[in-house]
């Protein structure tokens, strides 16, 4: 009974992974190896007449056009920027919450998660209202005499970065908070006792001990931010060809499913890198707990 329960417990996440990651990925991989045709479905079958008909042609095609490489690089850059901004904003927030009196912590965390109660789309539209040239921020800055003409942020890459930072900030704050909250406060006392000033305590004790939280938060922000579609679509202009947008265009505007699928596969392989790296750096901690 116990053994069956245990097997079931392992089987559940495994089944979940197979159903919602393995199978879709196999489908995408299959499409990426086929050729585009006009028809329904808009790609050739992999096996026809008993022979393998697939090929890496789509991947070769990705290398031929600079657009794809540029989109990938732009996406990685923007996601890295948003991740960095989330660390810079989220760390102090998490630090303040972890340092707040115990009865304040739960309400403060709830406030961090509060934006989730409204629709994501509405929140991005709100940013449009704030950032567009005739928007409230523009009007405010102009009336204060801080800028001469209307605010020229939107549409643009910087607006996309702002939007992504805003969108993913809670995913940074929560894991950092969790790791800060776990740090034994006597460690800071011990460091002070041994001659460390507050700044030194932060660099030598608090920051390294909260690094797992920063790393986890960075993954939660970076990985979805690379493939982000909605924010660049709404806040970005034609000058910001993010990979998510390009995949969308290939699928639905050009109906080149195989090429879009190939792009998706490349993106996944690229993102698997940092995830694996994070796994490896986390491993010693896990061993320590075991």
């Amino acid at each position: 009974m116990n053994r069956m329960m245990r097997r079931l417990l392992v089987a559940l996440p495994a089944a979940w992974l197979v159903l919602f990651f393995g199978l879709p990925f196999a489908l995408i991989l299959q499409v990426s190896l086929s050729r585009a045709v006009i028809g329904q479905p808009p790609f050739t079958p992999l096996f026809a007449g008993g022979a393998f008909q697939g090929g890496l042609g789509n991947f070769a095609l990705l290398l031929e056009d600079d657009l794809y490489l540029e989109a990938i690089l732009a996406s990685l850059g923007l996601a890295a920027g948003a991740t960095g901004a989330c660390i810079l904003l989220g760390y102090p927030m998490a630090w303040a919450i972890a340092g707040a009196p115990r009865r304040w912590r739960a309400p403060l965390l709830a406030l961090v998660a509060l934006p989730f109660v409204t629709s994501f789309l509405i929140r991005v539209y709100a940013w449009i209202g704030l950032l567009r040239p005739t928007g409230s921020l523009s009007v405010l800055l102009q009336s204060l005499g801080l800028i001469d003409g209307p605010l020229a942020l939107m549409p643009g890459t910087f607006a996309v970065a702002i939007g992504m930072t805003y969108t993913y900030l809670p995913f940074m704050v929560l894991p950092i908070y969790a790791s800060l909250e776990k740090i034994d406060p006597t460690l800071a006392s011990a460091a002070a006792d041994l001659g460390a000033r507050p700044g030194r305590i932060f660099w030598s004790v608090t920051l390294p001990l909260s690094a797992p939280g920063v790393l986890a938060g960075s993954l939660f922000v970076f990985v979805p931010a690379v493939g982000e579609f909605v924010v660049p679509e709404l806040l970005g202009g034609p000058g910001t060809p993010m990979i998510g947008k390009v995949i969308w265009q290939e699928f639905f505007n050009n109906r080149d499913w195989p090429l879009a699928a190939a792009l998706a596969v490349v993106l996944l392989v690229l993102l698997a890198g940092p995830i694996a790296l994070a796994q490896r750096s986390q491993a010693p901690t896990a061993r320590g707990l075991g």
Partner: protein, 354 residues
């Protein structure tokens, strides 16, 4: 001249409306091994935190070799603390933990390595330098914490219940190690503990704190043999307690104990007047089997054999029972149910006004 003479003068500390330390004064000799003993809530840990600089007093001052510690932050005090939980930095090696304080002083390179090596040798942990705290045992972690606190050669080493997390066998060994370190280094050690045995075994002077006040300070023998109050006598060691009334005062005090009769005691400094109600205390090991001063017939109600010694529950009269303990040099001195004569020297009777 030895350094690390500490003078605590009229320290008061409140948390909200609770007075944790109440006008406490103490003086600790340079190079001494001082124990702050007390039950939980007696204020001993608060005093330690005040000395380390984590709290500041509401009144009074603390002088270390004549220099006022007021306003000196923890990171500038020549005082180091061994935390009860050891508080080793989990992300640093043993060597980095020990070197942490030295690096704050700007020590680096070969000098740092050499000093850390010395500290490791001092606490006999050579070979563990590159381990992480989670890879060493509790006893080893405690010695790393000691080495880390001693590395900066503090004038004053504070130890917060250092043995609380160790098992019994290791505790004995660690006591020996602490005594050795204290002898070799000559640093002033201040130990906070709720364990009277630990305080008596380690310290050359003990202060017993009771509800934020100093109950008594003195040598371990002072506290045990000449307790200043009934509270001190009850906190330290075992005590048979009886109530009576002074009926005669002269070369010796005579105290009438209901149902037992007269008990003779040595005169005490604060001489109770004839007719005063007093409490008398008697340590179990002061009671002899056989005739002598203060002889009484008794019935052995129960014998508890403890190996090296036996503890006897003796009924002297209806409702008057005392406990006696004797070493088992030739086996137990009496058996349950036996009628014996017991006695105790009048010098062994502790008299307290009630």
């Amino acid at each position: 001249m030895k350094l690390g003479a500490l003078s605590v003068e009229g320290i008061t500390k409140r948390f909200g409306t609770t007075v944790v330390l109440d006008d406490l004064s103490l003086s600790i000799a340079a190079g001494g091994f001082f124990a702050l003993l007390g039950a939980s809530g007696s204020g001993k840990t608060t005093l330690l935190r005040l000395l380390a600089g984590f709290e500041s007093p509401d009144a009074g001052r603390m002088l270390l070799d004549g220099a006022d510690l007021a306003g000196v932050p923890p990171y500038e005090r020549p005082v180091n603390l061994v935390f009860q939980s050891y508080a080793l930095f989990p992300h640093m090696t043993v060597a980095a933990n020990i070197g942490f304080g030295l690096r704050r002083e700007g020590m680096a390179g070969e000098e740092l390595r050499r000093r850390v090596g010395e500290m490791l040798a001092l606490v006999r942990l050579d070979g563990l330098a590159e381990r992480k705290p989670r890879e060493i045992s509790g006893g080893q972690a405690q010695r790393v914490a000691l080495a880390r606190a001693l590395a900066k050669r503090p004038k004053l080493l504070l130890l917060d219940e250092p043995m609380a997390a160790l098992d019994r066998g290791l505790r004995e060994h660690t006591r020996g190690e602490l005594k050795r370190l204290h002898r070799e280094l000559g640093t002033t050690f201040v130990l906070v503990t709720h364990d009277q045995e630990e305080a008596l075994a380690l310290a050359d002077r003990v202060a017993l704190l009771d509800a934020g006040r100093l109950a008594q300070a003195g040598s371990p023998e002072d506290l045990y043999e000449r307790p200043a109050s009934l509270a001190v006598a009850r906190f330290i060691g075992q005590l048979n307690l009886m109530e009576g009334r002074v009926v005669g005062a002269g070369d010796a005090l005579t105290i009438e104990v209901p149902r037992l009769g007269a008990v003779r005691a040595r005169p005490v400094a604060s001489f109770p007047a004839v007719g005063a109600a007093v409490a008398i205390g008697l340590r179990p090991e002061k009671i002899d089997f056989g005739a002598g001063d203060n002889a009484h017939p008794a019935m052995v109600a129960e014998v508890t054999y403890l190996g090296g010694q036996s503890v006897y529950r003796l009924r002297l009269a209806e409702g008057v029972e005392i406990r006696a303990s004797r070493p088992n040099r030739d086996g137990p001195a009496a058996r349950a149910g036996e009628r014996v004569t017991i006695s105790w020297p009048s010098a062994a009777v502790l008299v307290f006004p009630t």
